[in-house]
Assembly symmetry: D2
């Protein structure tokens, strides 16, 4: 891999100047890079569907504590087959359960709203962090995503491009790697795409066992990719990891520059912790790395993100 | 409206014999009426997309207690703009929150898995209720839906067919009403469709204020519709209410026959509490009542249902 | 009952001037009226114990939605007798569950911390409301109660003093009523006591059925009691209701003056929704209305209150 | 330390025969060893109070994930000082929060109900495990503790008796150690006492840093102590750890014999994860190792345990 620039505050600041979309879609805009998804773009994605094969990219709801799951999601049964008769309602025999999750972090498949991170006390488009109240975000929540995100999805399979089964924990992906993956797949990332970068996290876990990304590392994008993402007009960026590598960068004010430059600067929502291994295998098998993608965030006013199971259709 | 048969245990039993799909797709089948969705069906639905307009059918996450929301969903902020700096991670400035829900019931948009209801101690395809454990369902959970449900959606707008703004609480929809709505829309419900029956619940709430469905009633399908749904091969049935009317029927063993005949007998998953008013207005405006529908259940092993925001694309 | 003053902002302001304890125990004090509980006071309470009878004053964990329980507490089993074997641990056979509660409100027995309410943007002892962060209260949380509140408890049985089985929803208790209850019990409320005012909420519920306090009313203290509580040096005030009556007063800035004058002005924590009927019956039977009381708040840093089950020993 | 017997299934079975209290207090009894706490016992404990010093033995609500806290307790603010005005209620300015916990395990201070563990499919007094339903325990829940547990508490400070600052992870405490601690404190454990065994977990954590008890071990009682506890008539057993050592014993059916012999056989509830360092320091300072103890479980019908903050008064 090519040598990548050192990640310092100054370097990240310089990238910020190149990628900021603040004001680009108006002073009140809260949709950010979703503006790249026009109905024409959506229709093109729909018309590219060929086989009808569907794959859900959400990962299994992570209920078990692990080094990479410090805040387990909750699935608690409320009524089951040992006592199914609902009290007070003759003949009603049901099973019920409860789901709960603090979806941010390195475990649950989720999408970040544009209020999720702050740079210098501000979120995307310059709204103050204090617009995110104890009672919910009053700006830049998931609400602008409520009709779903429906557009073309593109998978860039970096391990395949690099000829490895999965990326080691210390790999930092640069522009050259993304373009190598493009070349290897005969696909070009374009405006309005949801870009999904496959790193092989599941294969790594299968090979090495559960690991703590803070200790063993987790591959991610080097911030030099931000201008490339900006130039290409990526609507949403996703991966099987955190998009930013783990552990965080040491730049004092830029620990997670892809989040800061992407979500806060570009207004580009991030998808994390997707299950991409089956997707990558399927793409390889049919020799096609693009698909119709539908992301259906829960419609939670004020939320900073929601769990999702994005659906790819080929 | 036509006179509808009295709903007794014997009547429901007779319907059961007509609609049961137990064994139809094999002794181990846990997908039920989703088997009607072939890749051809899906491709036809994809190819019918014309305008690219997308509408999310999930309702706003219902966090406020109300007569029709006894178990409020939870949205709790964990970190907000008044204290965004994450402890121990220099420069990390974020907002975080928590979502939780017991999604069954009359408030949250959700899909029922085939383990949600039991008839005579058994669930769809004859598996015993006791396969639903304290630790989760070992059969008929949401897992068979994990790749998403992607097919044609059809809206039957019953108030429009009947020339009323919304259905009153005591309306029980019969086959004649469904077919009147079909006729008024020049659409025919076919095998593999997700059928969504619009009843005007939001319009009613806007006109009458919040109401308790157990007291003021909520329109729903009369069980005579079950054989019709079965014959048409509906894959999933949804509505802006509970599909079954409220209050429950008085038949001692059949309080919610659409659930029992549909989920348990036919293996037909149900969608509840959708936001269909905007959908109905849009269909009317463009004079088309079918669309590509994508339902993306969360991938929770053992779950009896999950909250969803189904995405319609026209 | 005597005629009680009209409750206006001006009236409440005048009471504030008479009861404020801000600065009384130092500029940094966060214990408020708990300062009245000296070790001597505690020892006197201990030495008054005679029979050894113990009664728990917490109410049953309120898990069922009701007009007076809009935010049901949660009790969810996680492992039960139908599937008790813990995975991965041979021979481990257990039952597990989960408890959750937003304890404030009119249902759960709980104690309010001194950060629970704000008057003019400030909490007890003048700390700004903004010291209560999204991440927890940095002042006036439950922490100062962490060693338990152990002192004399006194029950004032107002229905008994007034010769009624329970107080109607529109009753507003004045000083004369409190003193009538004192006289009828031959007890005098003194500095450092936990005062529990019995109103007969359980008897009313048994007689009238479940009711919505916002509609049917709930008896409570008239704000004229605040100077009396202040003069007597009450350490903690509790009752079987909300201490303040329901519905709230119409004074624009003083909807709940007992909370505002008591918690915020006097630094006097409040106990709500206690189960006092059995306590009242026992006191009447043994003709003694004082006891050793132990309140054991959970030690949650930053909490605005915790559920409690105060234990009375006679 | 003395050599301790090997812990095998056969050995534990032999202990079971010596300690079982099934039937001792009647076929319907669900209180178990709490029957040892008579009013006379309670009154003696009350009368032994001398100084009025109170100490809360609950540990701080453990919200942070750690090797010894895989299921963090929850404290989530719902309303704080950045947005305190309650919607729809003029003048109401409050802070609110939510608490949740799955209290069993090695982190939260809690008391186990007698339905928490099963031996051969049965719980205390022979009730079947299946009486613990998905909807809660119908026998042996925390309900029999609802009036509080008020009796004498005794601290046995094992590190002090052994002349060490804290017990290493591989220490298994035998009868000789308990009796050495008794001798060093001039106290004798008697019928109806709550026995608290101090092991120095907090001191160990302070010295060694956070550790995973499954890996680094955690001191606990050897099962040979069970007959001793039985003979002495201990009402409740507690400690700063899990009472049983960690990791679990390798006997295939007896991984946690103190739980199985104690809770299930003797009907002796267990208290876990107490904060005992300050208690031990205070006992040493005043040269007295007994006190009045009040445990106030939350009154949750059907619960397998509740979080507690036991209050010691000297």
């Amino acid at each position: 891999m090519a040598t990548l620039p050192e990640v310092t505050d100054a370097y990240c600041e310089s990238l910020w100047l190149r990628v900021s979309n603040w004001g680009r879609w108006g002073a009140d805009d809260q949709s950010g890079a979703l503006n790249h998804i026009t109905v024409e773009k959506r229709l093109r994605a729909v018309r590219d569907v060929r086989t009808g094969v569907a794959i859900g990219l959400g990962n299994p709801w992570p209920v078990d504590p692990a080094p990479d799951n410090l805040w387990p999601a909750e699935h608690r049964m409320m009524r089951a087959g040992d006592d199914p008769d609902y009290p007070g309602v003759p003949g009603l025999s049901v099973a019920l359960d409860y789901l709960g999750v603090a979806c941010h972090g390195i475990s649950t498949s989720h999408i970040d709203a544009l209020c999720h991170v702050f740079v210098r006390g501000r979120m995307y488009n310059g709204f103050p962090a204090t617009d995110v109240k104890i009672t919910g975000a009053t700006r830049n929540d998931v609400w602008p995503m409520r009709e779903g995100i429906v557009t073309r999805g593109v998978l860039l399979d970096v391990p395949r491009a690099l000829g490895v089964p999965y990326l080691a924990g210390d790999v930092r992906i640069g522009v050259a790697d993304l373009e190598a993956a493009e070349a290897a797949s005969a696909v070009r990332v374009e405006a309005g795409d949801v870009l999904i970068v496959h790193k092989g996290r599941e294969a790594r876990k299968a090979a090495e066992g559960p690991f703590d990304p803070g200790v063993a590392g987790l591959a991610g994008l080097h911030p030099e990719c931000a201008p490339w993402l900006h130039e290409r007009g990526v609507a949403v960026l996703g991966s099987d990891g955190m998009n930013d590598p783990q552990p965080n960068w040491a730049a004092p004010h830029w620990p997670i520059p892809i989040h800061y430059l992407g979500i806060c600067g570009m207004g580009m929502a991030l998808l994390h912790n997707l299950e991409t291994e089956r997707l990558a295998r399927h793409c390889e098998e049919i020799r096609r790395w693009s698909f119709l993608l539908t992301i259906a965030p829960l419609k939670v006013r004020g939320a900073t993100g929601t769990p999702v199971n994005p659906i790819a259709v080929f």
